[in-house]
Symmetry: C2
Subunit: 428 residues, 2 copies
C-alpha cells in the first residue's frame, strides 16, 4: 500500500466535524478504496477549545489557515470555512501556490472567483475539487464532468437550496404564510447568517453557476444568471398552484438553445406529480439532459453534516487514487464566456395580480396583456371579501420579455394593487 | 494535447452504433474533456456489409475479435458483443492478456466471470470498466465506486430491467393480462432473444450482482442472489396492489444488516406515490443508502442506443484521462465471499391465494398462517362468479422463511387452487 494521503482541514463547523467523523469511523474502508490510508495531520478553526463532539487531540492545531497550508505534513488542503472572500480565498490561493491539492465545499468562492482559481490550479498542476459545493451529498459534479462527459448537454435544472424547498413545501403542507415559515426555518437553524443568500436565491445561483460551467464549457459567471428569490411567494400563490395541479419550486435552469444559454434561478411552477414537483423539504434534485443520455435525475440530501462530508471525502478519495481533471472539466483556456442571454425560450407563464374590484378592471388588464402580445390560456378570479380581487392567469407560451412588458402595461392601467407576481411554468 | 486514445470496437449492434455516432458527432467535445482525441481505429462485428446507418468505412475491419485486440493501433478494447461466454469472454481475456484496457457493457460476463476477469486485469495493470452494464445511462457504478466511496453502504436497491417495468406498468395502465403485454413487448423488440433473461429477473440480477460487489466489497456472485421473475404476476395482483395504494416492481435489493447480506431480485410491492412506485416504462432507478449520505436516488433510461453509449463513452473518457481504479472499487484480494444469506429481515408481505369457495376454507388458510407464525394485518376477499374465491392478505412484518412455511401449510390444507403468490412490501 502506498504512503498515506495527509489532510489539513481548515474549518471545523458542521461539515468539518462530519469529515473528521467519517475519516475516524471508516478509516479501514477508506484505505481499501483509496488504495492508501487517508489521515488528518492538522486542523485549523476559529476556536481551539470548543467542544465539537469529536476528538481532534491527535491532530496538530494551527491558528492561521495559511500556516496550515504550508506544513510539510499536509498533502491536501480541505477548505470548509466558507465565505466568498477573506480567509477561505486566501487559504485556497496559498494552497495552490504551495502546490497542494484542494478540496472545498465553498460555492460562493468558486462561483465568484472560480475562473481565476481554476487557472491558478491548472498552472500549478494541482487538483481543485468541489463536489460538496453543489447539491450536498448528490455526486452531481462527478456525474456531469465524468459519467456524462460524452454528452453535449442541453439542459441542467433543479432544486438546489433545501431551505427554500423546505419553506415552500411547509407553506403548502401547513397552509402557513411565508413570514411564519421563514421564522420557523430561522429558529430551526436552517437559514444562513445572511438569509438573503437562501431566500434570495443567491446560494442556489452560486451552485447553478458551477453546474453550468461544467455542463456547457463556459466560464463560471454568477452575473450571467437571472436570479429571483422566493420572498414574494404568498400563500395565495401556493394555493393557486395547487389548484392547477402545480407546485412552486425555486428552480435553477440552465438551458442551451439556438438563441444561446438561458440561465435563471427563480420560483417556477412544475407539475405537482412530477419528480421535481414531489420533492419535499430539504431534499435536492438535479435533472440533466444530453444528446445521448436523454434525461438523468439525481436526488438526495442537499445539506447536513453526513451528506456534505460524503461529497468531500469522495473528492479526497479521487485525489488519493490519482485522478486529475481540469477544474471545470476542460482546460480553462477553452471555457467560453457565459453570454448573459436573456431567457427567450417561450413557456407558459403564471401571473397573479390583485385587482381593484371595480367595473372594467379585468378588461383593462386583459387588454394590457393583449397589447404586450401575451395571450391568456386560463384565468381564475378567486372569491374575496374586501375590495381587492385576486386573479390568476396562465398564459399561452410566451417569452420573459413579453411577460415583463405585459406586467408593466398592466401596472400602468392603475387598477392593480401591488406588482404582479410572474413565474414560468417548467414542463418536467 | 496528448496522443489520441485509439479504440477497437467489437460489436456493432445498437450500443456499438450509438458509440460510433457519439464519437463522430462529438469528437471536438470529447477531445476537450478527455484531454486527447478519442478515435476509432478498428471494428469487428458479425456482418461487414449490413447497413447500420453509420459510416464505418474509415475504420479497419477485423473478422476475428481476438485479432482486433492484438492490433498495435488499438489501445483500448470496447466489448459490445454481449453473452456470458463465447467470443465476448475470449475477447476480454485476450485484451487483458495483451495489456489493453477494456470497456464493456456486458453484465452477464461480469456477473458470472467478474472475479477472474478482475483478478486478471489487476495483475495485468489494465482497466476493466462496465458502467453501461448496469442501469443503462445512469452513472451508478461511478456514483457507488467513486462519489460515495467514503460511505459504508447499507442498502442498494432499485428497478434495473426496463422491459419488466414496461410490462408491469403497461399491465396497470391498460388493464391487460401479463401474456398480452408480454407479446406486445416482444413485438416492440423490447425482449432479449431469450426472454427469460428479462422476465425471469436474470438480467436484473446480473446487474445487482455487480452493484452489490462494489457497494459491499464482496466477490461478484450471481448465485448469492435469490431471483424470482415476474411471470406469475397476474392482472389480479396489479389490481389488488393498486387497491392498496401500492405498485408491483421487479425490485433488486441488496441490504446489509446484522444478519448478513440479503440479496434478492424479485417482484415487490412499493408505495404507489414513492419514487420507485412512480417509475414508469423503461426507466431505471437505483436507491443507495450509506452511513454518511443517508439516501441518494438516481433515475434514468435503462437501455437504448444513446443512453447505453453515453455510459460506454464515460468509461472511455475516464481511461483517456488516466483514471485507474480497482475493477470492483477495491483490490480483488480484499473482496469477501458474498455469503448467500437467506433474507431474514422482517417485512410485511403480500399473499394472494385462490380458495375453493366452500365453507371453512378461509378458516383453514388463516389457521395455516397462524401455525407458521404469520399474523394477518389486512385481508380482502374479492367478489367472484365461479367457485374460486380470490383472497389477498397483507401480513404483519415477518420473514421470508415464515412466509414460505405459511404458503406450504396453506397448500397442504387442500383448499387452494394453484400456488399462493407472495411478494414482500418494501418501504421506499
Amino acid at each position: 500500500m502506498s504512503s498515506p494521503l495527509r489532510l489539513g482541514i481548515a474549518g471545523l463547523g458542521t461539515v468539518g466535524v462530519g469529515l473528521v467523523r467519517i475519516i475516524q469511523r471508516n478509516a479501514d474502508l477508506l484505505a481499501l478504496r483509496a488504495g492508501r490510508p487517508i489521515e488528518i495531520t492538522a486542523v485549523c478553526a476559529r476556536s481551539r477549545t470548543r467542544n465539537r463532539g469529536v476528538d481532534i487531540s491527535g491532530y496538530a492545531w494551527e491558528d492561521d489557515p495559511v500556516t496550515l497550508v504550508r506544513r510539510d505534513d499536509v498533502d491536501l488542503v480541505v477548505e470548509l470555512m466558507g465565505g466568498e472572500n477573506g480567509p477561505a480565498k486566501a487559504l485556497t490561493e496559498a494552497a495552490i501556490a504551495a502546490g497542494k491539492d484542494v478540496v472545498t465545499a465553498n460555492k460562493a468562492l468558486l462561483a465568484m472567483h472560480g475562473l481565476d482559481l481554476a487557472r491558478a490550479a491548472e498552472e500549478a498542476g494541482v487538483a481543485l475539487r468541489f463536489e460538496a459545493a453543489v447539491a450536498g451529498g448528490i455526486p452531481v459534479i462527478k456525474a456531469l464532468s465524468e459519467g456524462l462527459a460524452g454528452n453535449r448537454i442541453s439542459c441542467v435544472k433543479g432544486v438546489m437550496n433545501g431551505t427554500c424547498n423546505y419553506i415552500l413545501t411547509r407553506m403548502e403542507d401547513a397552509g402557513l404564510p411565508y413570514e411564519t415559515v421563514f421564522e420557523e426555518a430561522n429558529q430551526l437553524g436552517y437559514l444562513e447568517a445572511d438569509p438573503t443568500l437562501d431566500v434570495g436565491g443567491i446560494d442556489a445561483a452560486h451552485k447553478l453557476t458551477l453546474l453550468s460551467a461544467i455542463a456547457f464549457g463556459v466560464q463560471p459567471d454568477f452575473d450571467a444568471i437571472t436570479t429571483t428569490g422566493i420572498e414574494r411567494i404568498s400563500i395565495e400563490d401556493i394555493r393557486a398552484a395547487a389548484d392547477l395541479r402545480l407546485r412552486i419550486k425555486l428552480l435553477g435552469v440552465a438551458r442551451l438553445s439556438g438563441r444561446g444559454l438561458e440561465q435563471s434561478m427563480s420560483p417556477c411552477l412544475v407539475p405537482a406529480d412530477s419528480p421535481l414537483g414531489q420533492l419535499k423539504g430539504g431534499t435536492n434534485m438535479v435533472v440533466i439532459e444530453g444528446d445521448a443520455i436523454e434525461q438523468v435525475i439525481l436526488r438526495g440530501p442537499g445539506a447536513g453534516e453526513g451528506p456534505t462530508a460524503s461529497a468531500v471525502i469522495g473528492d479526497i478519495i479521487d485525489i488519493a487514487r490519482g485522478l486529475r481533471l481540469p477544474v471545470f472539466g476542460q482546460p480553462v483556456a477553452t471555457l467560453q464566456p457565459a453570454v448573459s442571454a436573456r431567457a427567450t425560450a417561450a413557456k407558459p407563464w403564471y401571473l397573479r395580480m390583485t385587482l381593484l374590484d371595480k367595473p372594467g378592471a379585468l378588461a383593462k388588464v386583459a387588454e394590457a396583456l393583449g397589447n404586450a402580445g401575451v395571450s391568456i390560456n386560463r384565468m381564475r378570479q378567486y372569491g374575496h371579501e374586501d375590495t381587492r380581487a385576486p386573479v390568476v392567469i396562465i398564459t399561452h407560451k410566451t417569452t420573459r420579455d413579453a411577460i415583463d412588458h405585459a406586467a408593466s402595461l398592466a401596472l400602468a392601467t392603475g387598477v392593480l394593487v401591488g406588482e404582479p407576481v410572474a413565474m414560468a411554468i417548467e414542463a418536467d
